[in-house]
């Protein structure tokens, strides 16, 4: 597999009032292969979100670099822990928004949004305001809004962090299925070890602030993966190994 994005010696320090600065990330080196699904796991405040924002190009690193294969500027989409739907647009228009920003016509954008609404199972809700949706439904809309852009790089900042355990499990399975449709390169933050083991090709473990990578683990399971995988002995062994890495 070819390398798709290469993060080299990347550090980020936020200015603070006392002048010392807050060191969020310390010398991160991480390479994502094309179509690879990588999960980041580690304590809160380890700078994982900062890394996601730098990759999304909404934040600049203090030092170090992010380079993409062939020096291209890939299309990227981001999903946050809060769904961040625009409350003044119904479900359909929220999903169609990125296409309209890219200059697609109203009708074309809406037609493709309808396809995605169907794919995430929200056809009945396409005219609803976001405030009437449940947490899980909102996150489905947010994921559809990200994937409709057919991103080469999909950034997921704890997308299921605010959901209850049952919905969360279900959403992980749905994400697995939707990812199989497009295979974008994914960098995802999660606090669930099981989720990381189920979804990722590789898991990287972060330390406390300033965040740096302490461990990496390849997840060997074949794709496409299914929910039942979670009950297999080899899966439980991987989860155990990951837990050990985090406890270090």
């Amino acid at each position: 597999m070819d390398s798709f994005v290469k993060i080299s010696n990347l550090s980020k320090t936020f200015p603070t009032d006392d002048g010392n600065g807050l060191e969020a990330l310390d010398d991160i080196n991480l390479t994502l292969a094309e179509n690879e699904f990588v999960c980041m796991i580690g304590p809160s405040g380890a700078g994982k979100s900062t890394l996601i924002r730098i990759l999304a190009d909404v934040l600049q690193p203090t030092s170090g670099s992010v380079t993409f294969a062939g020096n291209q500027d890939p299309t990227r989409a981001i999903v946050f822990q809060s769904s961040n739907l625009l409350p003044w647009m119904d479900v359909l228009h929220n999903i169609a928004l990125p296409l309209k920003i890219q200059g697609e016509s109203e009708t074309a954008a809406n037609r493709r949004a309808e396809e995605w609404i169907e794919r995430v199972g929200l056809s009945e809700f396409k005219d609803e305001w976001p405030k009437t949706l449940s947490g899980g439904m909102k996150q489905r809309v947010a994921i559809a809004r990200a994937l409709i852009q057919q991103p080469q790089l999909l950034l997921l900042d704890e997308p299921f962090g605010a959901l209850d355990a049952l919905t969360r499990d279900q959403m992980a399975i749905e994400l697995l299925k939707t990812w199989d449709l497009q295979h974008p390169t994914v960098l995802m933050i999660t606090h669930s070890i099981t989720e990381a083991a189920l979804l990722a090709d590789r898991v990287v473990v972060f330390s406390k602030r300033p965040g740096h990578i302490t461990h990496e683990l390849k997840i060997p399971f074949e794709r496409p993966r299914r929910a039942a995988l979670r009950d297999e002995y080899s899966f439980i062994q991987i989860v155990k190994e990951l837990r050990g890495m985090i406890m270090d």
Partner: protein, 258 residues
């Protein structure tokens, strides 16, 4: 349950008009029992008669229209200027700190004090009144535009940037809709302030308008006419306010509580 609540609502809706009617009856009785002459306190019935007479000779409509146009003109110019400058200042904090002392200072001058100046400079036509209205309308809206734009959540801005939204897309899909509720709050305040501004201007020196009508009627001890004109002013202020609330409800449907 449902029907009893509906009945409760009906009674509650009936109370305000009934209260007004009772007040008017009380007023009428008070006037007839006391010996006040009509130029001190006219009875509601006399005011009503005066109202019909001023309608039939066209005087009331003419002066109301003048005041209404001044109020609307002031709202239009004041709001437009406030939206443009508010957008600029929200995006340029340094310009805001430079200009804000002047903006606040201009607002701390009582409008009754600058009205004579504007009349000296621009005469007794509609123009100085529209200027006064614009001045009083400007501030509440500008402040709210700045607040509305500054309060946009960080995450939504990041989201728009990650979608590569340009200035125009940002304005259209994020900034305008998220600032609108706050701006409408300012507009409600401004609508009533604008009516006050127009009347203050007209009382200072005018040849038409409800303020002018009040001044001349007072000179002729036609107190019933003063009441009619005051009533018209209230009507203008209330209809503007209601119009804005209805517009707000229509545009901000996504906010509605259900």
């Amino acid at each position: 349950m449902q029907t009893s609540r509906k009945k409760g609502n009906l009674i509650q809706n009936l109370i305000p008009p009934l209260s007004i009617a009772a007040g008017l009856v009380l007023w009428e009785i008070l006037v007839h029992l006391s010996d006040y002459p009509a130029f001190i306190l006219p009875a509601p019935s006399q005011i009503l008669l005066r109202f019909f007479r001023s309608i039939s000779d066209g005087v009331l409509l003419y002066h109301s229209l003048i005041t209404f146009l001044e109020v609307l003109g002031g709202l239009f110019f004041g709001t437009s200027l406030a939206l443009l400058t508010g957008y600029y200042l929200a995006h340029h904090p340094i310009a805001e700190s430079v200009l804000f002392p002047y903006i606040v200072a201009s607002q701390s001058i009582p409008m009754a004090a600058i009205a004579p100046l504007l009349t000296i400079w621009f005469g007794s036509g509609m123009m100085p009144k529209i200027l006064i209205c614009s001045l009083v309308v400007f501030f509440p809206i500008q402040i709210n535009v700045i607040i509305g734009l500054r309060e946009i959540p960080r995450n939504l801005l990041d989201l728009m940037h990650s979608m590569r939204a340009d200035r125009l897309a940002l304005l259209r899909y994020l900034e305008i809709p998220s600032a609108l509720p706050v701006v409408f709050g300012g507009l409600r305040i401004s609508a009533t302030l604008s009516v006050i501004g127009a009347v203050v201007g007209e009382l200072t020196g005018a040849d038409a308008g409800l303020g002018y009508l009040i001044n001349t009627a007072r000179g002729q001890y036609d107190t019933a006419m003063v009441f009619v004109a005051v009533g018209m002013l209230m009507l203008i202020a209330i209809s503007l306010y209601t119009g804005i609330v209805l517009l707000e409800r229509r545009i901000l449907r996504w906010q509605g509580t259900d």
